[in-house]
């Protein structure tokens, strides 16, 4: 296999990006309006709020929770979320004693329809390399200290299967409605590097 040389180091990546956009646009190979549509979609519509709605519904509707764990893709689609990088989503539950955490060591595969594009820490080589070798240490560095009796399962997303963590519902939220729970659910808890805290 050939390895390509890097770009000219004196040219900034922003300038090279602009150059590529010009080259393809002026030949009619891409449409700037389509480009802008893709950017807007991922800046505004496709993000972790979608996943938070899924989680809040699962916390308040036992039938939905069961459907979500049985067939994540279908249950997520019930709420209107599907699309690129969400062809087959498997949902796993975190509890007081079992903790799932998701990574993609080979690139940065991530369940876009429910979480949007991955945050910088998920794409960090330190995360990609170390979470599969010393997850307890890595989670601690990220601010999550798990008790010794918690069993950790690291999910490396090596195929087109995408994993979503159903976090544990925090104590003291029994009186909250589904709508009130949604803002509590963080992106990081749905990847498994944080827990959802009580309000």
């Amino acid at each position: 296999m050939t390895t390509t040389g890097g770009p000219d180091e004196t040219l900034s990546v922003a300038l090279r990006t602009e150059a590529l956009e010009q080259l393809l646009t002026e030949r009619g190979l891409i449409d700037p309006k389509v480009m802008n549509g893709i950017i807007t979609e991922y800046e505004t519509n496709v993000g972790p709020l979608n996943g938070a709605k899924v989680v809040a519904k699962a916390w308040t509707d036992p039938d939905y929770r069961q459907r979500l764990l049985d067939d994540g893709t279908a249950a997520i689609k019930e709420l209107g979320f599907s699309g690129a990088q969400g062809e087959h989503i498997v949902v796993v539950e975190n509890t007081a004693t079992t903790h799932n955490v998701v990574v993609c060591t080979l690139c940065s595969c991530y369940p876009w329809p429910v979480l949007g594009l991955p945050p910088s820490w998920y794409k960090d080589p330190a995360y990609r390399s170390r979470i599969v070798k010393e997850p307890r240490t890595v989670l601690s560095e990220m601010g999550l200290d798990l008790a010794d009796d918690v069993q950790i399962t690291v999910r490396d997303s090596t195929s087109e299967v995408r994993w979503l963590v159903l976090p544990e519902r925090p104590a003291g939220t029994e009186h909250l409605t589904e709508e009130e729970l949604v803002p509590l659910v963080s992106r990081d808890a749905m990847v498994g590097v944080a827990k959802v805290g009580a309000p």
Partner: protein, 223 residues
């Protein structure tokens, strides 16, 4: 293939930092442009979506092209590689245009004769049906083959040669190893295989479980 992209277990990357709560989707405007450009470039280069070929372009970047400008920088460099291999762009076209954009006056290379791969996917997405029954059943011990293919693969280096147990059978899917090279979809059964950390990393490692989705041809029975 072995290379910079196969990061699982590799040393030297330093500590993690607590996640930022307020991180924008695109920290700088060029990153959004790069994201959309890379998606559209793979359609221009291949005549259709081929995520496996895109990932193979990324994993062939050298260390600097892969790392120096982060995730979206690697997407721009991967897009350039796809477009030059399909002869949509000449190899020096982006740099020449970038120089002109910053006020230099350099000659840009002529547009080459396109040489797109012969590629037509059989359906949207990657899930396919396979007529044969899965070779492995849930609960069965399996070993990830100890192999190091020169082309694209989704078998991470760190599980090769290690033994786990089939946790779930996932829907059959296009085999990245051939599809990335436009050599056919060859759909296979896909298994979530569960490994014990101490089997993979040694008896001194943190105790935990590790799963990966592995295509049927990556696995062998234990004799």
């Amino acid at each position: 293939m072995d290379g910079i992209a196969d990061m699982g277990g590799t040393p030297g990357w330093g500590p993690m930092h607590p996640p930022r709560r307020d991180e924008p989707v695109f920290e700088e405007p060029w990153q959004g442009r790069a994201f959309a450009l890379a998606i559209l470039s793979s359609r221009v280069a291949f005549g259709g979506v081929n995520l496996d070929a895109f990932r193979h372009a990324l994993e062939r970047l050298d260390r600097a092209a892969y790392l120096d400008d982060g995730y979206f920088g690697r997407w721009i460099n991967g897009a350039e590689l796809m477009l030059t291999e399909s002869a949509i762009l000449a190899p020096s076209a982006i740099d020449a245009r970038a120089r002109n954009l910053r006020g230099e006056d350099v000659e840009e290379p002529p547009i080459p004769e396109p040489a797109r791969p012969d590629y037509m996917r059989t359906a949207e997405g990657s899930l396919r049906t396979v007529d044969s029954a899965p070779a492995f059943t849930v609960g069965k011990p399996v070993r990830a083959k100890d192999m190091s293919p020169p082309g694209h693969t989704r078998l991470p280096g760190y599980v090769r040669g290690h033994t786990g147990v089939v946790e779930r059978i996932q829907p059959a899917a296009v085999l990245p190893d051939t599809n990335a090279h436009f050599q056919g979809e060859n759909p296979q059964h896909v298994y979530t295989v569960r490994f014990d950390s101490r089997e993979v990393w040694g008896s001194d490692s943190e105790p935990f479980a590790l799963t990966a989705e592995l295509y049927e041809s990556y696995l062998e029975t234990i004799s």
